[in-house]
């Protein structure tokens, strides 16, 4: 029998919540929650890049750091500190965000993005990217667009979007494809795949992700605007 969902449609996302400016010490920050996965992101910098040989004289460098809190895993305690998985996710997050970001005003510097997972129920790198994109916008950096990310895939033969942990670990065939997109242009900035599926299934899954991305985009925009939405706008004194 084909896999079905009881709590939402196959093309439905889990409930989302986004909040901007949650970490006062940071230049920009955000919390992004999708289902039971909760990511914090904070942006610091631009600050001087060390070591010096890594400085780019043309523009600033984006550096992303992904971490799961020790108690945020689904089983045993996660050993703290960077591991191969977290470093790889940091790198793909960086590549997912860099295409929209304009750091030409800040040569020789680094902009640090720190992502921390408070609670996880799959889709953590996607939630991290959504939070990080909000934090960069909150920090006031110039961006061509926000970046949105969601996973899609095949669970028990059925194409779905936004897999939770039970789906990601579904016994009878599960494929997980995290995707990040520039929603305005539809360009893909992150794509990874774990599992085996046909080309046709891949196409169906990616189309589900495209639709999901647009819903995330609306949530992100609303969260950014909500930070400043108290009161009438003025341009005087500028």
């Amino acid at each position: 029998m084909a896999y079905t969902r009881t709590d939402r449609a196959l093309n439905g996302l889990r409930p989302m919540e986004a909040k901007v400016g949650v970490i006062k010490n940071a230049r920009g920050s955000a919390m992004f929650k999708i289902g039971k996965t909760i990511a914090y992101a904070a942006v610091y910098g631009p600050r001087e890049m060390h070591p010096k040989f890594m400085q780019n004289v043309e523009r600033g460098t984006l550096r992303c750091n992904y971490n799961m809190m020790a108690f945020s895993g689904s089983g045993n305690r996660v050993r703290p500190g960077p591991n191969r998985r977290s470093r790889e996710i940091g790198l793909v997050t960086q590549n997912a965000l860099a295409p929209v970001l304009d750091l030409t005003e800040y040569p020789k510097t680094v902009v640090d993005v720190y992502i921390e997972l408070l609670q996880t129920d799959a889709g953590t790198r996607c939630a991290g990217i959504c939070a990080a994109s909000l934090a960069l916008a909150d920090a006031g950096f110039k961006m061509k667009d926000l970046v949105c990310a969601v996973s899609c895939g095949i669970v028990g033969g059925t194409p779905v979007v936004d897999l939770d942990y039970s789906e990601e670990s579904y016994d009878d065939h599960s494929v997980d494809i995290p995707i990040a997109m520039i929603p305005r242009t539809g360009e893909i900035t992150l794509m990874q795949l774990d599992g085996v599926l046909t080309r046709e299934q891949l196409e169906k899954a990616v189309l589900l992700a495209r639709d999901g991305i647009q819903k995330i985009y609306e949530v992100q925009k609303a969260a950014l605007k909500a930070k400043f939405a108290d009161g009438k706008i003025s341009l005087e004194g500028e």
């Binding site: 949650v22 006062k24 010490n25 914090y40 108690f71 305690r77 921390e116 129920d121």
Partner: protein
């Protein structure tokens, strides 16, 4: 950014840079429970003014140590996340994080707030290890008190997971709480010049001469202490600080 000398001069004039009284905590003081309920066996988030700290409890099976075959164990760690302040850098825990974890540990472990005997499942063979991890989200001063409060709140929130065929089933929590014999709450008093103050901002911490963290039981007994900072404290000063800490710890306890 606020110069050290400015804070010290203000203290002489009986003032703080944000207008608070010396014995006044920043507002709000807030404890939220089960902030990571899907993943952790217990969790809490504490807000003190701009400072935010989360703590989570994980339980694992282990083998008791040979010298304490009938007892479980506890491990408390803290990490100064670079997410929480421009002052912190990535890397293994520095001395600041180690001291923070040790001070919180002293309040909970050494005070025997947790009944270790009840964490033993089978003498010499199987025990629970209680692991508490503490993370600042926004580090803006007084991580000591916020962390201690978050740790005890997370323990209060924690429930044992179900055990089936000697294996932990993390997805299914039971109703059984942690064997807490009492709830220690700590308060740190800072000394700037000849003044004592609580709940310092980060700038005040950097301008302080010395500090004293004191943990108390519900009955008001002292259950852990740690002096920090470079300058010494006199006998009289220590007791004045303990008295102030006792008073303020009582107020913090009401937030649990």
């Amino acid at each position: 950014m606020i110069p050290k000398t400015y804070i010290q001069t203000l203290a002489k004039k009986n003032a703080r840079h944000d207008g608070r009284r010396f014995d006044e905590f920043r507002q709000p003081v807030l404890v939220e429970y089960a902030v990571s309920a899907k993943s952790a066996e217990g969790s809490a988030r504490v807000t003190m003014g701009n400072t935010i700290v989360v703590a989570g409890v994980k339980l694992e099976f282990g083998q008791p140590y040979p010298d304490t075959p009938d007892e479980g164990s506890i491990m408390i760690s803290a990490e100064m996340l670079p997410l929480s302040s421009p002052e912190y850098e990535s890397g293994p825990p520095g001395i600041e994080a180690i001291e923070l974890a040790r001070v919180v540990d002293r309040g909970i472990r050494e005070s025997k707030a947790l009944d270790f005997k009840k964490l033993c499942v089978k003498s010499g063979e199987k025990m629970w290890t209680v692991m508490i991890d503490i993370y600042p989200i926004n580090a803006s001063g007084n991580l000591f008190d916020a962390s201690a409060l978050a740790a005890i709140a997370a323990l209060k929130n924690a429930r044992f997971p179900k055990v089936e065929d000697d294996k932990v089933v993390y997805k299914e929590p039971t109703d059984e709480p942690m064997p807490l014999s009492f709830m220690p709450v700590s308060c740190t008093v800072h000394k700037i010049g000849d003044k004592f103050l609580v709940d310092p901002t980060r700038d005040e911490e950097l301008a302080a001469d010395a500090r004293l963290t004191v943990a108390f039981t519900e009955k008001g007994e002292v259950c852990a202490m740690q002096k920090g900072g470079e300058k010494p404290l006199t006998h009289t000063e220590v007791f004045a600080m303990v008295d102030l800490a006792a008073l303020k710890a009582g107020e913090l306890r009401k937030c649990l």
